[in-house]
Symmetry: none
Subunit: 316 residues, 2 copies
DNA sequence: GCGCATCGTGATCATATGATCGACGGAAAC
DNA sequence: GTTTCCGTCGATCATATGATCACGATGCGC
């Protein structure tokens, strides 16, 4: 605060000197001592001038990369929603967005997973892609996999096939069944109970975020119908995580559909130390924003335009 | 110099990591050790990544121009010669002056070039250095490159190698040929005509300014002989731009040499909205001064002693 | 297969940098 | 005039940084 009103105006000569010092330092690669000798200044003074130059914004560092702009967004996301971490991948017209998110997510997890740890996985296209990319790492590095919901086995088997299958625990059931009492019965099965309680002990959860849109994977794979989605939307649903639909504040709705799910609920999900979500694309803006606002996730991996849109909505 | 053209291409993931490191270092003010911890890298590796980032031009330090530079001299140059802009870099005995000018020029252009724009480039050591520094920006930011003369391909290819080569248009010919009729024939070639007419549509032209001295790059690279230069000097030549020699008022001379050039003439050059020249050093004082007086250039990037000398000569 | 060169890595150490502290000097208050 | 406050300066020292070295992995040619 004290230096905030520190004279912003200084001698023109001072300005020139400062920029000269900055030039020598940053562009010519001279040391502060060398600059001092050359311009008859004490080394310490040169140091202070550079410091001042930086504080005043006279010296500006530009990161000349398509990633550059993303870091600012990451910082904002973390700040606004209290995320542990955010990853934003650069905008790019070409290429499937889910593939690129999966790539980023798998990279993130690779750097994060330690031996002996357990990763719980949800349901969705992005999650599947991530697991495919992770497959090799998982088998090399004694990492266990467990499913958060039913319906995962379909794609996870190919991924974790072979050697390390003893470390893979799946809920042997579909994601959604047709009747509430059937779901109850399945959830009571001993093996299902075991896997679900194991999932509660996972170190990380990897989930996708679904939009309430006709293109949703839930509809494409026959777990839900368009008319159901229309009803969900009327009730205020903006998105889903592991099959549970929530409103714009990230609060889970009370839907009959939820009673037919086989998998963990939001309470159990939140108990997992770190919930990592990978999702992006224009359709998912509201879904992601609500999840973040509601504290449903700890780590968000998304793309640049989506991040921008989310932040803008919470700006006002 | 030698390692300047070591592989400019690297893994996308590598680049992301590098950008992230740079961001933490320069924007968040973290130390290299802290970054290492955070990203699971050894401190030394972080240090090396930063080094590489700087060398590759991924990290750029910009010194705010409104304060930076050598104010008084810049203002005087603009005033006396009616330049759009002047950049003067501080004096320094050691270090290659061309490298420092190239640094300044690339910085200027980076701040100026917008997407979809086209930059036409001339011939010379400083231009080459500038392009090397710009390479990264150019490929990222949909900017087209076109040559103003022949003989450019030799050094531009390494620069624009790889991805964005569809945006690079070179005159496929040497700068100077041995006979007038050969030059005529080349200039009539369809492809050459095309590139030259494209060059006329460029938004900016980046050129060097050559002195009529034995050290000239034109002589060093075998395009002209000392005896030719001696003759040019007798005829009143004080400098050249894209191979065209002019007198002390910046008026092009009528030399046979010019008829053997493959490239644009002064009329076409002036038609480009902004002609940017980067040149400095004691040998080039008269050449630069004449170019400025004759209105051959719109933007001048030079060094302090040279600027001083030029102004002094026009003071009296 | 066996050197051989090359590269990337981390360890060690010299150097560069910036934080802290006391001293000096000028300006305002008394 | 003195005193006190404030800012600046340089000395000292802890830390951050980058240069050098040595090692192990990888790839190449013999």
């Amino acid at each position: 605060m004290n230096e905030a009103n520190d004279e912003l105006a200084f001698e023109p000569h001072e300005e020139e000197l400062l920029s000269r010092v900055a030039w020598h330092y940053y562009h010519d690669g001279l040391t502060q001592s060398e600059i001092g000798e050359r311009l008859n200044l004490s080394r310490i003074k040169v140091s202070r001038m550079l410091d001042r130059g930086r504080k005043m914004g006279l010296i500006h560092v530009h990161i000349n990369s398509s990633y550059g702009g993303c870091f600012a967004l990451e910082a904002r996301l973390q700040e606004i929603y209290g995320l542990d971490e955010a990853r934003v991948i650069p905008a790019q017209e070409t290429g499937n967005i889910n593939d690129r998110l999966a790539e980023a997510a798998s990279q993130y997890l690779m750097g994060r997973l330690k031996d002996q740890e357990m990763l719980a996985v949800g349901w969705g296209a992005t999650v599947m892609g991530t697991l495919q990319r992770l497959a090799r790492t998982l088998s090399y590095r004694d990492i266990s996999l467990v499913s958060l919901t039913g319906g995962v086995s379909a794609y996870i088997e190919g991924v974790a096939s072979g050697r390390s299958s003893q470390n893979v625990h799946l809920i042997p059931a579909p994601l959604v069944v047709s009747q509430e009492n059937i779901a109850e019965a399945i959830r009571a099965e001993r093996h299902v109970v075991e896997v679900m309680s194991m999932a509660r002990t996972a170190n990380y959860a990897l989930v996708g975020i679904g939009a309430v849109a006709d293109e949703a994977t839930l509809i494409a794979s026959g777990y839900a119908s368009r008319s159901q989605f229309e009803i969900f939307r009327r009730q205020g649903a903006v998105g889903d995580i592991i099959g549970i639909f929530y409103d714009q504040n990230g609060e889970p709705l009370d839907l009959p559909f939820h009673k037919m799910l086989v998998g963990l609920d939001f309470g159990a999900l939140s108990a997992i130390p770190q919930v990592i979500a990978a999702a992006g694309g224009p359709k998912k803006i509201d879904a992601i924003r609500a999840a973040a606002r509601g504290g449903r996730i700890d780590v968000l991996i998304t793309d640049e335009p989506t991040a921008q849109a989310i932040i803008e909505k919470d700006q006002a």
